[in-house]
């Protein structure tokens, strides 16, 4: 039995609190010290011809540190010179020995942190061919999503070659020093394409019934096993539920047969997933409650004997700890929570959950990857900049008195990061609580309460960094003159502005924050002015109460400030709630019982309404002139600069904080 690194968790506070997470497990012939696994995640940080970069090594090193001895998986590598298997422009390659040194750097970085280096083989199938005009699959089934390339059916020779490429790439992984091997067979990648009756219509030995459709997978498992030997644990990631009923995908029962077949073919562990990128139902967005998918892990445990790991909406340690205790699963796998905070499990182990920067399940990371952009994180400004010294918190050359106006996400992020650098930092908040615009934004339904987690995190960081907080204090030009800070940061957030169309006695005009915080009540027929996130939030909040809602927005589409991987959820929910949307429209006139909307084609529509909720925002720059007059260094950040998203507020705050 092999034990690569020895870990003793007993001295740490969470070892007793989460005993199931911090106990060893045997996978194949390898003992893993704990039940934590960083799941393979593309990051688009490597060169576009597949060479590993220092940025990717630094990214992985942080995550390896985070798993505190557990499994750290590198992004899936593509394995063919033709690049059919490449699904992401910055995906690492393993189709030639020339890639081994780069892959070794990743393995070494993981080992430096005494973690288990897991190497993933990933042919992206119908999601691949990112840099060529087509992609490969078992059958040439058209794409539902326009972002993907037309599929070219693989010949028998192509299939044999592909299996060989898996084995060759596996050998390179072993030569690079990895401890474990993983095959990706999920979400629409090649192995899953062969398994699914939606995408596999072959009539040869690699198609037909579920057993025939499993042959490609089992051939790969056997070929890889032959190459890596019996002592290297082999994992496969498989869909337990494709969620493709609308196009005739596999039944959940068929999916469990794939699990059995994989086990029989020789895998030592199965990672459970659900849904494809083409699924029309949500799987991992914020509106899906945490732990929703655990029933699939349970099904897997009832089907196979090998250990079961699972990610997907398991962001907090309580759920997986209990699931392991219950025998629902064996290993807590995660990707987005460790994009948001690479050290998340380490902080949990050390008894500092308040230091965990929480993922808000917005899927910006995915949206970026599909648009050929490097990984970034909505809430973690340092993500993908781990190797860049300019992005780190370093001691200030000169210690300044920093006055931050506004205790929202931008102000708090700036406060703690600048305080950590040695500055004397004062945050002034006009309200009696911190949180700024997130205080009401988090009142919106469908999981937005999770947004407030970032405020709790920032409060804790400000406390630890000894930031001076002045609640209930409105800052005027005189306050600034009295305090005379060296640096002024204006993070007051945006100002909500009513429509210019005037008012009437019959229609009540109120602001989105006042509605969301319950300060005001609306009538039954409500028109929302503004189609960005605040407008969508308040529309859903009121629609949940059974009110008749319409949205009037200037933009061509709703949610310009919501990332593309999340906006579809809101659009779907608005449609389900029968919210009427007038795009590229204006409120022209407010009458006694209705509002005149000037819509597309210059058409005027009289919409019955008793309330207008304004959700359009403008920047707030008033205090800048005071700073200029007093000759104080001043920064305007977050929504006060340009109304945008929580992400922009955090990123603005951090970047300002590390530069003052």
């Amino acid at each position: 039995m092999a034990v690569n690194f020895k870990w003793d968790y007993k001295p740490y506070p969470a070892a007793a609190k989460y005993p199931n997470l911090f106990k060893p497990i045997k996978i194949g012939n390898l003992i893993i010290p704990n039940r934590i696994k960083y799941a393979a995640t593309e990051d688009n940080l490597n060169t576009h011809d597949g060479y590993v970069t220092d940025a990717d090594v630094a990214y992985m090193r942080e995550r390896a540190k985070g798993v505190v001895g557990g499994i750290c998986t590198i992004q899936g590598v593509y394995m063919d010179e033709k690049r059919e298997g490449q699904g992401y422009v910055g995906q690492a390659a393993a189709w030639h020995d020339k890639f081994i040194p780069g892959l070794k750097k990743l393995a070494d970085a993981i080992h430096d942190e005494k973690a288990i280096a897991n190497y993933q083989l990933m042919h992206c199938g119908r999601v691949g061919g990112v840099d060529i005009p087509y992609c490969a699959g078992p059958s040439a089934i058209p794409q539902r999503l326009k972002v993907f390339k037309p599929v070219r059916e693989m010949s028998l020779q192509d299939i044999k070659q592909c299996i060989k490429e898996h084995a060759d790439a596996a050998r390179r992984g072993i030569e690079a020093g990895y401890d474990m091997m993983e095959i990706s067979g999920i979400v629409g990648y090649l192995v899953s394409n062969f398994l699914s009756k939606y995408t596999n219509r072959r009539t040869d030995e690699y198609g037909g019934d579920i057993y025939g459709r499993c042959k490609f997978m089992t051939d790969i498992i056997k070929a890889v096993r032959k190459e890596i030997g019996k002592d290297v644990p082999l994992i496969i990631r498989l869909c337990a539920e494709e969620l493709l009923n609308d196009v005739g995908g596999n039944t959940p029962e068929e999916s469990m047969i794939t699990y059995k077949m994989a086990e029989e073919a020789g895998v030592d562990c199965i990672s459970v997933t659900q849904g494809w990128q083409e699924s029309s139902v949500p799987v991992i967005s914020r509106d899906i409650p945490q732990g929703t998918w655990l029933y699939n892990a349970k099904r897997a445990k009832q089907t196979v004997k090998v250990p079961i790991s699972m990610a997907y909406r398991l962001f907090l340690p309580e759920l997986p700890d209990k699931a392991i205790a219950d025998g629902t699963m064996d290993i807590w796998e995660m990707c987005r929570p460790m994009i948001a905070d690479p050290l998340m499990p380490k902080k949990i182990l050390e008894g500092h959950p308040e230091d965990v920067r929480p993922c808000v399940a917005c899927n910006l990371c995915l949206a970026r990857l599909f648009r050929d952009a490097p990984m970034t994180c909505y809430v973690n400004p340092v993500c993908a900049h781990e190797s860049d010294p300019k992005w780190q918190i370093t001691p200030a050359v000169q210690k300044n008195k920093v006055m931050i106006v506004g205790g929202g996400p931008a102000g708090l992020e700036c406060a703690y990061s600048s305080a950590l650098r040695g500055h004397e930092v004062h945050v002034y908040e006009k309200n009696t609580t911190l949180g700024g615009q997130i205080s009401y934004a988090s009142k919106a339904p469908f999981g937005d309460i999770e947004l407030y987690g970032i405020i709790n995190f920032l409060k804790a960081q400000c406390d630890k960094a000894k930031v001076n907080i002045h609640l209930g204090t409105t800052v005027t030009p005189k306050t600034i003159e009295d305090e005379m800070p060296d640096t002024l940061v204006i993070a007051t957030g945006a100002v909500f502005t009513p429509p210019a169309a005037g008012s009437s006695k019959g229609v009540n005009i109120v602001s989105a924050p006042d509605v969301l915080t319950g300060k005001v009540k609306t009538g039954e027929r409500v028109m929302i002015f503004g189609g960005k996130k605040p407008g969508i939030s308040v529309a859903l909040y009121l629609a949940e109460q059974g009110k008749k809602i319409s949205i009037v927005c200037k933009e061509r589409n709703l949610g310009k400030d919501v990332n593309p991987s999340l906006i579809w959820r809101y659009v779907q929910k608005l449609a389900q709630k029968k919210v009427t949307v007038y795009k590229e429209s204006q409120i022209e006139e407010v009458n006694e019982t209705s509002v005149v909307v000037k819509a597309l084609y210059d058409t005027r529509i009289s919409v019955p309404a008793d309330t207008i909720v304004f959700a359009e925002r403008e920047s707030f720059k008033e205090l800048m002139s005071t700073a200029k007059e007093l000759g104080i260094e001043a920064h305007l950040i977050g929504d006060a600069l340009v109304p945008r998203s929580l992400s922009h507020a955090l990123h603005d705050g951090y970047r300002t904080g590390i530069r003052i």
Binding site: A140, I141, P142, Q143, R144, K146, K197, Y198, R201, N245, D246, V247, G248, S280, E589, N591, V596, Y601, D602, T603, R604, I605, S606
Partner: protein
């Protein structure tokens, strides 16, 4: 000032009608431009059928998200999509029930396309076969994606001098 909703609707419809006509005119003008670059003697039908095939693939993608194979209304929902596409282009179309759940008819009572074909000197048969190519491409793609055996047949065509266009949609096992 109270607005005249009827007047607003009338103006909107007029703009919509003009937009449809501009789209048709643009189609035939592009056809003219493309033909001018092709060698003399090229059969316009080849160009037109190819163009409708390209359109058909794109239309199919729009239908993919509106269809659900697991629903018993799958065939009727395809017909609904076609009726929607047609009415958006200023045609008058409706669904007519078939003799059993495995078939449904679509009937067009009005179609402005032949008038434009005449105006731009295109043959009426180009219109019939072009339209057919569009629908056949859509249906082929739907069958590919959903692994179904939907069949579309053109039974009557206004450009051929008939009063209505009728197409039969049926699904096999």
């Amino acid at each position: 000032m109270p607005i005249n909703q009827e007047d607003e609707m009338r103006k909107l419809l007029s703009k919509f009608d003009a937009l449809g006509n501009i789209t048709r005119a643009t189609w035939y003008e592009w056809r003219q431009a493309a033909l001018s670059f092709l060698p003399p003697g090229t059969n316009p039908m080849e160009l037109v059928l190819k163009a409708w095939e390209v359109v058909g693939h794109d239309t199919a993608k729009a239908y993919f998200t509106a269809l659900d194979k697991s629903k018993p209304t799958f065939l009727r929902d395809i017909a609904k999509c076609i009726v929607n596409s047609s009415t958006m282009m200023g045609e008058t179309a409706k669904i007519v029930d078939g003799r059993n759940p495995d078939e449904v008819y679509i009937q067009w009572d009005r179609c402005p396309w032949p008038e434009f074909a005449r105006r731009y000197g295109a043959s009426m048969e180009e219109d019939v076969l072009g339209c057919d190519k569009w629908f056949q491409t859509v249906i082929a793609d739907v069958n590919e994606l959903f692994n179904t055996k939907v069949k579309l047949e053109t039974l009557h065509a206004i450009p051929r001098g008939e009063k209505v266009c009728v197409r039969r949609l049926s699904i096999g096992v």
